[in-house]
Symmetry: C2
Subunit: 891 residues, 2 copies
């Protein structure tokens, strides 16, 4: 028994249906579905993706069975359309289109008007009664076939299409501006000239046999599955190469046969707002590509699309086809239970549907459509929750540029923290603070930022850095603050001395206006108007539905009461990472920190730490209070001590003056703390072990704050987290210190506080030996930034030099600092979860790396059984939705 | 039924035996064994290690059953020794000694002469006929008991023993110099003063009841299992804390009762040379501790020990006991089948054996004894191979200091590369070369070394650095060269400008003489005579036996034909790591390398690489030739490019001049290549991927050299190794380049060469995804230096700041850069081996990190099923022996 390779559709029936996308491609499956629904679809057939594989296996040969089925398919189309392929009097013309299981718009090839030759052109002219239309169709066919099937299209984008050159010459010769001004005879002459060009270029005559044309087109479309841009697109969108494409061969219908013809596109709801209005545009006497090309201005199909009283709607011009279209769109939306993006053609008053698919939409529209479709009873709650891309929500939470405002992009960097900002350039954090105090909007522009810059970053509207990746200091801090940031923008060069930056060959001085699009990584000259989003009631509704489904708790990474409150308002259920060192730079604290670093012995350090204690206690008091009733994970000191010392001469002198020591002493300390690879140096718990008094001070500050709040009747749940643990012994050492201090403080204060002591899992060895580490840990929190750095051996500060190339060349599919590398780093994470729970089945496990707010990574965290993810405040809603979707997906 | 806790011995019989070490401790088991053999051992009994656990469990209480068994033990000793515990006329005195399952020399406590009081002292005096002896014994007992049992010994080492202060006062009062000059009456007075001091210090009277004394001593010895130095010793020697110690209670015998008494120690063969001669020393009328104390010079026991005609041997002085001793030592050696270290005492002409154990010996002696004992038929070949500590062999391969030469150690650092060297200080590599050219022996002293210094390192007799660990550049290169090196010597401070270093508060200038002991990490003032070792025939024999047993192949890490030849002579079976970049600094090459780095585009880089090609080809030609018939693993470029640029102003100017560019241009390039964490930066295959032309050049050089040699009839097996692979795609990228170039070269040359393309496994992610990586790899080679750095998150250049403290505090048991961390990094290694072989069951797997020459790590490599280990040339014999021992151990 022969297998089925060709699936026919048309005339209210079809052999395929919507759920056969893998075999028939998206387009083919939907054409079949529409046909089954009784929607008027030009008859045709789909050659299945299996034949794509065959095509590659057999070097472009087809079996007799395939040939037979294709011939039967054509016969069926002839029957339905009442025309004959290659017939002189009543020729059937075909389109040959690719259609992969996943949408790959514009990546593969298409041939239209197939079946025309010197004979059939006569029939077309006769039947359409339009000679110019006939020759124009033929001209288009020869050009397209020449480009796509016969390889006339130049490989380089710089070279012009040879056919376009001929058309240009003709227009010059005829002294006309537009293609449409060429006459039927001109077009006829173009056909001849095109054929000569093909003969010259390929050494072969243009094929006149329609069947030869058809098989050529089919092979060309299969072949286009492996063209370079298709390969690249698949890589970028994780589409398997072995899926292959299907091919849809369909009867041509024409919207350009005359003024009783039209073509258009429409959405079943407004894709920008989600408004429940039928929304679309059309052109009379035009082809689909004309709507897109923008030479003629499309007209609104109905009053709800209309923006201008002069416009003529399709409803007015062709009321009968419009009425039919309206019925169809309603049916389609009801059938697909989603907003549809549809294409139609009206040929001599008859409506044909060419395509339907789920429509793309803005975040606001996605939320509104999902919620309203549930309210309408069209979809259930789970489906509504699945309908919004978590990543999209970002648009709703940050200001954006007015999409209509003109923009002069002068440089591109990494989209490090979303949002849009406009302000005046300053190059130093101090200046930022000074200017901001004078109510100036500033953009802080730095080669890179360091913790010293925190004050300036805090007041800046946007942050731009020339170096550093998605998890650089600037990026992490900016995301925490919800401030827009473009990082690692190597297109700009910065000269601090002259207070200027060079971008696109032009100098921008301090005080000049620029704008940043942190969602796209764009640096824009001058001011651009921004739009502040408003959160709708629908948003809240959708979030609350998401919360019904998700199992993961969502916490936030926050270092201040303000950030904590923001996050809490976004739904954070605790703090997963409070970085104590971010507090060290505020006010007078840095002086005490530096005193501690400069101290020669433990006694000196203790003295300085005593000064820090009240500050730290105050910090924790504020954060614990803001997060009352919720757990707060506080990480003990993590960065190497040299990060707290100034590195520029001027600042070192300042510090020396302030502390009453010599510049040489400052320099000597900076030198002695210098490290070749600070990322792998004396930091994290290694500090707490060599200087236990630091851990003691921090533990005391945490527990004293907790005791005080407990006395005030506020419920607090501190979780003290030891960073950079690599061995059980390290954790045991630090835990012992914390427990002893905590016991002492609670005795002093005569209060009991519930607290835990746990560890970051961010050193590969800790993950590998998680069973041992869990013996000491009361919780695990994955620090996937460092874990990624060490598992890959990439410094996030330096990887920019090769990561971009790795992504471009497809050596990496995604930036592992943005999307957790599930197949590598993920193995470590899974091992650690499994081994940790072998020792302690109830071990609380979360993630506090940047990945905790990235939807795919959140999905992974759900699947490996974590208890929570923690992310920057503005990503909390994204994480909530992603967690819910994964829970639904894996139910 | 009551269990057995006490094991009696004496009078030619015993309840224990030699293989009961875990229960009876090493000393107790051997005392029992000797007794069983009929060797005269003072009667006694061993309290088993079980009671040590009981002691800690029950807070120092003993069950009635234990008490009963101890009392029975004493009764048995009384019977055999014909004396009575506590008896006035014929008192039995006891010794109470610790004895753990593993030797812990001097770590725990001992009490001698137990049973003395104001009554029994009379019996002792009477029976010995020696009043002074009696009071001296009593004095010693009270002092020892006071210190050990009653806690009179000060905790701090700085404070003097209170009893010693009393003795000193007495000596002043009596105007004598030595203890031995004190009279019986003086000693009697001391006893009284001691007792007063104890009463004052503890508030309690000195116990007079012998049973109270005995139980006090037993508890003190059990208690000493957990004193701080014992804990530290156990940690350093990996002795489990739960083993506990046994206690040996034994009748006292005295070598200090008069001139018919003596005491001594002996070895059944010469522990220095291995000579098959009975070898030992003794003292007339002395106690064991006097032999060690060095106040009196011990005498040779026999002619073969004699070094001076005037000396009186034991054989001459006490022929009868000596004859007995000779018979006993022969029996013991035959019985234990190993060289024995024995202690004996002659009391009034009667020989008593106090201890026997396997004797410590030099490497030379170990080799000789092992080989000769096999030749004598005493042991089999496997046992002979097991008898030599692999690490010991190092002594045989490097110069050592004359052990008799005086040494003034001025600083201590890490024993980075073994051997001894004497030379004049220079601070710059260039100076080293210059001075060496003038036939000066130089020691290169640097804060740290970099590849630029290679020339100077090559000619230096020794290398001293102030920074960097066991796997720092200086250490790795020095070991490769077999040059002695002390690294990370933070005791010294170096001032390049003044050309001086400060050590122990004294300045050492350029040209001053110092000496380095690379095996101990010592820096010594001035010249010290060195001894160059000779390899004996026995060494070769033992090595060839080792080769019969081992399964692992042993390769070497070598970058020059010279190193290759050295290693081959040591038995290397190939090169496991040839670092191509070490060649980049020789002669004119560095100029071409820098040209490449400075080039703005690929064309410029290719031009510079073309200049490098002939050099590289020449390098490989030489190495392949030296290693004919054996595989040579060549690693493509690994270090970041900035390592090839000068970092000091002066050298940058030099480079600028040489290359005809400005200093600013050089500085700009250095800046642009600067990395925050170069270890995790743009290096390894990341270079070969972003600059494929580098890999192309190297592949061409390798294959061209191989082709040329093949034509000359030399068999070559290049294995091209891609460094720093983290993903399969990286390896695929580089492999494709290599394969294409290789195919091209072989076609050009018209020769076929067998070669492989494989990868380092040194990035954790590569280990985690080894199944995927193996799809592209033709071999794996573990780079455990980097793997350790990344798994622990330790930069080997910076970890010095905390690693020492980690080791001191027991947070790490061993430096993971010296001994492979089997329980952490080892998990990654095992995963990679298992996963790699899942994909390719025959995958060739080796290790080329520094651990490849460390015996425990070699054992691990054997167990996880690697095919080979590769180590620096001078460690090849060590690896051969370690591999053989592990094969025997796991047979």
């Amino acid at each position: 028994m022969s297998e089925k390779y060709v699936y026919e559709f048309g005339d209210g029936t079809a052999e395929g249906k919507a759920d056969m996308k893998l075999l028939l491609g998206g387009k083919g499956a939907n054409l079949a579905e529409m046909s089954n629904l009784g929607v008027p679809v030009p008859a045709g057939f789909t050659i299945s993706t299996d034949i794509c594989a065959e095509y590659y296996k057999n070097n472009g040969k087809y079996s007799n069975e395939v040939k037979k089925q294709v011939e039967e398919g054509v016969t069926n189309v002839e029957k339905i359309m009442n025309a004959k392929f290659g017939d002189v009097n009543n020729p059937l013309l075909l389109s040959v289109r690719s259609g992969a299981p996943a949408s790959m718009p514009g990546m593969m090839d298409t041939v239209l008007n197939l079946g025309l030759n010197e004979n059939t052109i006569q029939g077309l002219i006769k039947n359409s009664g339009n000679e110019r239309f006939g020759w124009d169709s033929y001209r288009r066919f020869v050009q397209m076939y020449g480009d796509v099937v016969l390889g006339m299209k130049p490989e380089s984008k710089e070279e012009e299409d040879p056919f376009e050159i001929i058309i240009e010459e003709m227009k010059v010769k005829k002294a006309v501006q537009l293609d449409t001004e060429l006459s039927a005879n001109d077009l006829k002459e173009l056909v001849s000239l095109f054929k000569i060009a093909i003969k010259n270029g390929t050494g072969k005559d243009f094929p006149t046999d329609p069947w030869e044309q058809l098989w050529g087109a089919i092979s060309a479309v299969f072949g286009s599955w492996n063209n370079q841009r298709a390969i690249t697109y698949r890589r970028l969108n994780s589409i398997p190469a072995n899926w292959g494409t299907a091919i849809n061969v369909q009867a041509m219908v024409f919207g350009n046969m005359g003024d009783d013809c039209a073509t258009g596109v429409a959405f079943t709801r407004d894709p920008a707002t989600g408004n429940r209005d039928f929304y679309g545009e059309y052109l009379i006497n035009a082809q689909g590509e004309d709507v897109v090309a923008g030479i003629r201005t499309p007209q609104p199909i109905n009053d709800s699309t209309k923006s201008d009283a002069d416009q003529k709607t399709l409803e007015e011009v062709m009321p009968q086809p419009y009425a039919e279209l309206e019925k169809i769109y309603q049916n389609l939306e009801k059938h697909y239970k989603d907003m549809q993006d549809i294409e139609f053609t009206i040929q001599k008053g008859k409506l044909w549907m060419l395509q339907t698919r789920n429509g793309k939409r803005t975040a606001a529209a996605a939320v509104r459509i999902a919620v309203e479709m549930f309210d309408e009873g069209l979809i259930d709650k789970e489906t509504a929750v699945m309908r919004v891309e978590p990543e999209q929500l970002d648009q709703l939470l940050h200001p954006t540029f007015d999409p209509k405002a003109p923009k002069n992009v002068i440089a591109k960097g990494l989209p490090a923290s979303p949002g849009a900002a406009t302000g005046r350039i300053v190059f130093h954090a101090d200046d930022a603070e000074e200017w901001a105090a004078k109510e100036e909007n500033v953009i802080l522009v730095r080669i890179e930022t360091s913790p010293e810059d925190i004050g300036g970053m805090n007041v800046a509207k946007g942050i731009l850095t020339a170096r550093g990746g998605m998890t650089s200091h600037a990026a992490v801090v900016a995301r925490g603050m919800g401030t827009c940031c473009v990082a690692g923008c190597s297109d700009i060069s910065i000269n601090y001395k002259n207070k200027e930056m060079i971008a696109s060959g032009k100098a921008y001085k301090e005080g000049d206006w620029i704008s940043l699009d942190g969602s796209k990584g764009e640096v824009i000259e001058g001011k651009v108007a921004t739009v502040t989003p408003e959160l709708s009631g629908n948003f809240g509704k959708l979030m609350s539905w998401a919360d019904e489904f998700r199992r993961l708790n969502i916490r936030t990474n926050a270092d201040t009461p303000h950030d904590s409150t923001v996050a809490r308002n976004f739904g954070a259920e605790g703090i997963g990472l409070c970085r104590t060192e971010h507090m060290f730079f505020e006010g007078d604290r840095i002086k005490a920190v530096r005193e501690m670093i400069l101290a020669d012995d433990e006694a000196g350090r203790r003295k300085a730490l005593e000064k820090l204690l009240p500050y730290q206690k105050e910090d924790f008091y504020g954060i614990f209070k803001a997060m009352h009733d919720l757990p707060v994970t506080v990480r003990t000191l993590d960065p190497p001590l040299h990060e707290f010392l100034p590195h520029e001469n001027e600042n070192q002198q300042e510090m020396a003056d302030e502390m009453g020591i010599t510049l040489d002493e400052v320099k000597a300390k900076v030198d002695s703390l210098h490290e070749f690879n600070p990322m792998l140096g004396h930091r994290g718990c290694r500090l707490g072990i060599t200087y236990p008094e630091i851990t003691e001070m921090q533990a005391r500050a945490i527990i004293e704050a907790a005791c005080q709040l407990t006395k005030e009747g506020v419920k607090v749940f501190p979780e003290i987290m030891i960073p950079l643990t690599g061995t059980k012994a390290e954790l045991a050492n630090q835990k012992k210190i914390v427990k002893e201090i905590a016991a002492k403080v609670m005795q002093e204060q005569n209060v009991e506080v519930d607290y835990l002591v746990g560890t970051m899992i961010e050193i590969p060895r800790a993950a590998l030996t998680a069973d041992e580490v869990a013996e000491e840990a009361e919780f695990f929190s994955f620090g996937t930034n460092d874990l990624t750095q060490m598992a890959f051996g990439y410094s996030r500060d330096d990887a920019g030099k090769f990561l971009k190339e790795y992504l471009d060349r497809g050596i990496l599919e995604e930036d592992p600092f943005q999307v957790l590398d599930q197949s590598g780093v993920g193995i470590l994470v899974e091992m650690a979860v499994t081994k940790g729970r072998e020792t302690k089945p109830d071990l609380k496990i979360g993630i506090c790396g940047e990945h905790g707010g990235e939807p795919k990574s959140v999905g992974f965290c759900h699947r490996v059984g974590m208890d929570y993810v923690s992310c920057s405040p503005y990503r909390v809603p994204i994480a909530r939705l992603a967690a819910a979707q994964e829970a639904i997906r894996t139910k």
